[in-house]
């Protein structure tokens, strides 16, 4: 699971977190996290984003509040999380037990030329989440720590916020469907059944 740099391979990390995922619903931030969950396996319970930068965690909150009996996982990047830091405060106040946020932190803007993000210069996202009031935060840097993260995601004792330091290499693109209405309709049907498409 380690890249040549000694840091976690982001795709192998994703594969481990999504193994035997049960009824887990997954929102992925735009860019590499969306490609990563798609590389593991595209399916109706995935909601890969193509835009809305800074909104992934809040999409997770809305989904988690609407479906309190299901586990919801947001996988996103450090740049995407940095754009919506207020969400850490908003989510901590709401305290949804079924929501987990995992930041795959490569300390760079990987889609735009590998410019450094603030986490490259010491900004501690897990520390910020802890200060906002998340009851459980984790920093994951080694493969042997990943099973505990996966277990915490499924435990439903959140909200959980985790930072996993990952290798910044750009991996082969594995693109999800690009039609947003389809991505939404398939997830709603997976959650709500055929009634999802009928008049409320």
């Amino acid at each position: 699971m380690l890249a040549a740099s000694g840091k976690l391979d982001r795709r192998e990390l994703c594969r481990a977190l999504l193994a035997d995922r049960g009824d887990l619903l997954v929102v992925a931030g735009l860019g590499a996290p969306a490609w990563d969950i798609t590389a593991v396996g595209d399916r109706a319970e995935n909601f890969p984003l193509w835009g809305g930068m800074g909104g992934a965690a809040m999409i997770g909150l809305g989904l988690a509040l609407a479906q309190p009996a299901r586990r919801v996982l947001v996988i996103t990047g450090d740049g995407e999380m940095l754009m919506g830091l207020g969400a850490l405060a908003t989510i901590a106040v709401q305290r949804p037990a079924n929501l987990s946020i995992v930041v795959q932190d490569n300390e760079h803007y990987g889609e735009t030329g590998m410019q450094e993000t603030h986490t490259r210069h010491g900004v501690d996202l897990a520390g910020m989440a802890k200060a906002a009031g998340f009851p459980r935060t984790m920093l994951v840097t080694r493969p042997e720590e990943v099973p505990a993260l996966r277990a915490a995601i499924h435990a439903g004792e959140g909200p959980l916020f985790a930072v996993a330091k990952v290798d910044p290499s750009t991996l082969p693109l594995v693109l999800p469907p690009r039609e947003g209405a389809y991505l939404q309709a398939r997830l709603r049907e997976a959650v709500l059944g055929p009634a999802a498409h009928h008049q409320l």
Binding site: L25, V27, F47, W50, G51, G52, M53, G54, G55, A56, A57, M58, I59, G60, L61, G62, L63, A64, L65, A66, Q67, G84, G86, A87, A89, T90, V93, Q94, G180, A181, L183, Q184, L187, R188, V191, L192, A196, Q199, L200
Partner: protein, 182 residues
């Protein structure tokens, strides 16, 4: 004063309560809020309702993302904000267009009618144009008795036709804040 006007007065003055009843009628479950004085009474009613989840936001764009997630999970939601907050939502509104997501907004206007604060005017003047530029369908209510029917129409349009919509409640309805200088 004719009978119809007299009868319409109490109901018109109670438009915040009328909006609360309207949200109940539409089975709104998630209420995303950045407070505005014009929404204070409606927010209090929603907070007192165990069937509604009021989510207080740090910035209005969080509310757009919240409504996206709520709809994915089968919840109907609404975003309450003042006109300045519309500017904070611009790029996030692309979620509603990309995914065809119902996103009703109820916006109290500032910088619109007898404004005292110069800083409210630029965004207040741009509110409707900005929303429409992002693909939202916008209707205005400038009389108290128009607020509830207009909000009803835009909430219906959002959920029946899968798009962002907004009711703008004119400052003439709410009254201009004067900072004790009137």
């Amino acid at each position: 004063m004719d009978r119809q006007v007299m009868e319409s007065r109490p109901a018109a003055a109670d438009w915040p309560d009328g909006l609360y009843e309207l949200l109940k009628t539409h089975r709104i479950r998630q209420v995303a809020v950045v407070p505005d004085a014009g929404h204070a009474r409606l927010i209090r009613r929603c907070l007192a309702d165990n069937g509604m989840r009021v989510v207080s936001l740090t910035t209005e764009e969080e509310g757009i993302a919240l409504l996206q997630g709520a709809w994915l999970g089968g919840d109907k939601g609404v975003l309450l904000m003042q006109s300045s907050g519309v500017g904070n939502c611009v790029n996030m509104l692309s979620l509603a267009i990309t995914h065809r997501t119902p996103m009703p907004m109820i916006v109290t206007m500032r910088g619109d009618f007898g404004e005292f604060n110069p800083a409210q005017v630029p965004m207040g003047s741009a509110t409707q144009a900005v929303l429409e530029a992002m693909g939202a369908l916008v209707r205005r209510a400038d009389r108290p008795e128009d607020v509830v029917p207009t909000a009803d129409a835009t909430i219906r349009l959002a959920f029946n036709t899968f798009r962002p919509t907004a009711t703008l409640i004119g400052q003439r309805v709410i009254g201009a804040k004067t900072f004790g200088k009137d």
